[in-house]
């Protein structure tokens, strides 16, 4: 893995080979917001996120340390599941990354910090054999993100994707049936080709699946 760079709000930030901000002095709020979206926090950073991030920044900048995940949660009165809900990719790969603490600093402070595994959550969504969501009511943005992983979308899910997904969901909720592909194109004012570009896996296995609709038999 080579050092990478990301652009948030028109500004470029350089990252180390583990995807952490480096050098850390580049950190600002735009970075935090941008990285948060990249790490599955779709609604943007809330007050709860910021409270935790500020705690980490304070530890990092003033005390020159990073606490391990359990002490950090204890200090902030956060349950582990609450932390996971706030930062879906975990503490070190989520919160610390957004707070702009660089990997080398974390490792040198306490090697075991970097031993934290990808957060162990119960699988959030139950899917059938074909990968379709079993219960439409349990859908959230993370499910759509999970579905499109591996599609190679250059910018991930864009506003246009979300518009299609929302249309599908509203329509499914109101009519209890899956709209036809032509309904979707008409509603969005796009052609089949454009839809195909947005959802390279196809209409049913791509768009409908990401929207959490069941498999049409």
């Amino acid at each position: 893995m080579q050092p990478q760079a990301v652009v948030f709000g028109g500004k470029e930030y350089t990252l180390d080979r583990h995807g952490f901000l480096d050098p850390p002095e580049q950190w600002d709020e735009d970075f935090a917001e941008g990285m948060a979206r990249k790490l599955g926090i779709h609604g943007g950073l809330t007050g709860d996120h910021w409270a935790f991030l500020q705690y980490l920044r304070k530890k990092f900048l003033e005390e020159r340390t990073v606490p391990a995940v359990v002490p950090a949660c204890a200090d902030n009165g956060l349950r582990l599941s609450r932390l996971r809900a706030l930062f879906p990719t975990g503490y070190h790969r989520g919160a610390c990354k957004i707070a702009g603490i660089n990997f080398a600093f974390m490792r040198d402070t306490n090697l075991w910090l970097t031993y934290e595994n990808i957060p162990s959550v119960e699988p959030e969504h139950r899917v059938d054999d074909l990968g379709f969501l079993q219960d439409f009511k349990t859908w959230n943005e993370r499910f759509a993100e999970w579905v499109v992983r591996g599609w190679g979308l250059p910018e991930g899910l864009t506003d246009r994707h979300w518009a299609v997904i929302r249309y599908l969901q509203t329509s499914y909720r109101e009519t209890a049936s899956i709209p036809t592909v032509y309904d979707v194109c008409r509603s969005q004012g796009i052609g089949l080709e454009e839809l195909g570009r947005l959802f390279p896996e196809g209409y049913h296995r791509g768009a409908c699946r990401a929207a959490g609709l069941p498999f049409m038999t």
Binding site: M1, A68, P71, D75, G77, R79, W112, N117, E122, N140
Partner: protein
């Protein structure tokens, strides 16, 4: 609660000792290296045989995870072992003395040690070669000898030196204070209270408890589910007053094994035995850490480092599996519906024969358990063995050379969760998944148990904050 535990974060940072780095260019006395190698002649017979028996058939290369990842000469176990073997022949065997280069014998070359530092830290010490070698040669033992020579010359990689130093000074490799540890335990008890609605204790410093639990590094502060899993097993069996942890010694890691420094390894080991005696336990109850268990069970105990022991040594997975077989634990498998596979850590699979126990636990607690092939004693190393997992300066090597085979094996199972009973394996595996952008979670064995075990008839229920 926030006030109760407000002091937690303050502990570790202040206690961390300064790391003394190796000198920039250590002065290496060639005589010292040669003396260390000729000493093999008078040492344990097995290592002496390894020096003399190699038939150079190449079987080890075909079974080595590093050589599989990149078929370069320097990654061939024979070539690596020959660094020492050739010098040994020159000084200690008749043919070597008489025929020299004709039989592969050669003398130590000045400045060679610099290159050794790379070579001996590209062996993961997994011992897979030893399983297949027709002569039974264990190249990991030779590699450890090489590391011991590097250690004596002050050329052990910084990360390794640092882990050993912190462990010797604080008793734990993460350097956390007893107060920080206790606060973390309190936090885990609150977690379990929320999951099950009952008080499940994690006893600390209880003298007279039967079981003294020693988890691997980080399992309390960083990957806490393994510890809550063990606590739930004791609770479900009605043994929650019969076990304890220590607030001073809660980390089985012993990197002396990896640096080749026997004195450090013993010095790191002793406090745990002393603590077990102080607590008066009947069973030294080791956690999901391959090398820690191996040192205790396969080295310290049979070699009688500290004489007779007033306790037995057991691994937590043996204990839990026994209870499952006896029908004493119940599970709700639907809590773990995703396909799960088990990676046999080399130290458990090949060196300690703990292979069925983790499978019994995972099959009891998961709906869809899948084997990866080959497995058990023949499993491939994760690519981070021998302490390599902690070394980030060779991250690229671990990802694109030593870990290649493991990644292929995991992919072939289709699993979404890889369980490994070893912190080093877990770190390497998690980094592999990140590197190859695989959506596969990595964790421990008791972690899965913790999510599905029934306490008073009910599995853990987590508040859904989403």
């Amino acid at each position: 609660m926030a006030q109760d535990t407000a002091h937690v974060g303050a502990g570790p940072a202040t206690k961390r000792p300064e790391v003394v780095r190796a000198k920039e260019s250590p002065v290496v006395d060639p005589e010292q290296v040669i003396r260390a190698i000729t000493a093999i002649d008078g040492g344990p017979r097995v290592l002496k045989l390894y020096m003399e028996m190699c038939a150079r058939c190449g079987t080890c290369a075909s079974q080595c995870p590093v050589y599989y990842g990149k078929a370069e000469k320097k990654y061939n176990p024979v070539e690596r072992s020959d660094l020492i073997r050739d010098i040994y022949k020159k000084h200690c065997t008749t043919t070597g003395k008489l025929l020299g280069a004709l039989v592969g014998a050669r003398d130590y070359r000045d400045g060679e040690l610099e290159a050794w530092a790379e070579h001996f830290y590209t062996c993961t010490g997994c011992r897979r070669c030893a399983t297949y070698c027709p002569m039974g040669i264990d190249n990991s033992v030779i590699a450890r000898k090489g590391r011991a020579i590097l250690e004596a010359a002050g050329m052990t990689p910084d990360t390794m030196q640092k882990v050993v130093r912190i462990s010797l000074e604080t008793g734990n490799t993460d350097g956390a204070s007893p107060e920080a540890f206790k606060a973390a335990i309190e936090f885990l008890e609150e977690e379990m209270k929320e999951e099950h609605g009952v008080d499940i204790k994690i006893p600390v410093d209880v003298v007279g408890a039967d079981y003294f639990y020693v988890p691997p590094s980080g399992d309390v502060l960083v990957n806490p589910e393994a510890t809550t899993g063990v606590a739930k097993v004791f609770y479900a069996l009605g043994l929650q007053d019969r076990w304890t942890m220590s607030s001073h010694y809660f980390d089985g890691a012993n990197y002396g094994l990896f640096t080749g420094n026997d004195a450090d390894m013993k010095a790191d080991n002793k406090p745990y035995v002393e603590e077990a005696k102080r607590l008066g336990c009947k069973v030294l109850f080791m956690g999901e850490c391959g090398h820690a268990y191996r040192i205790m069970k396969m080295m310290m105990e049979p070699a009688r480092w500290w004489g007779d022991l007033p306790f037995t040594i057991m691994n937590c997975m043996e204990f839990t599996a026994e209870q499952i077989k006896a029908g004493k634990l119940q599970f709700d498998k639907s809590k773990n519906p995703q396909p799960v596979t088990y990676h046999d850590p080399c130290n458990f699979g090949r060196s300690c024969d703990i292979v069925e126990e983790p499978r019994i636990i995972l099959k009891a607690s998961c709906q869809d358990f899948r084997e990866m092939y080959p497995n058990r004693g023949e499993n491939w190393c994760c690519g981070g063995g021998g302490g390599l997992s902690a070394m980030d300066d060779i991250h690229e090597f671990r990802m694109t050379v030593s870990g290649v085979k493991k990644m292929e094996q995991v992919r072939a199972t289709g699993a979404k969760y890889v369980a490994a009973a070893c912190s080093n394996c877990k770190r390497q595996l998690a980094q592999l998944m990140e590197y190859y952008k695989e959506d596969i979670a990595v964790g421990g064995v008791h972690d899965m148990l913790s999510r599905s075990i029934l306490i008073n008839g009910k599995a853990a229920k987590r508040v859904d904050y989403t």
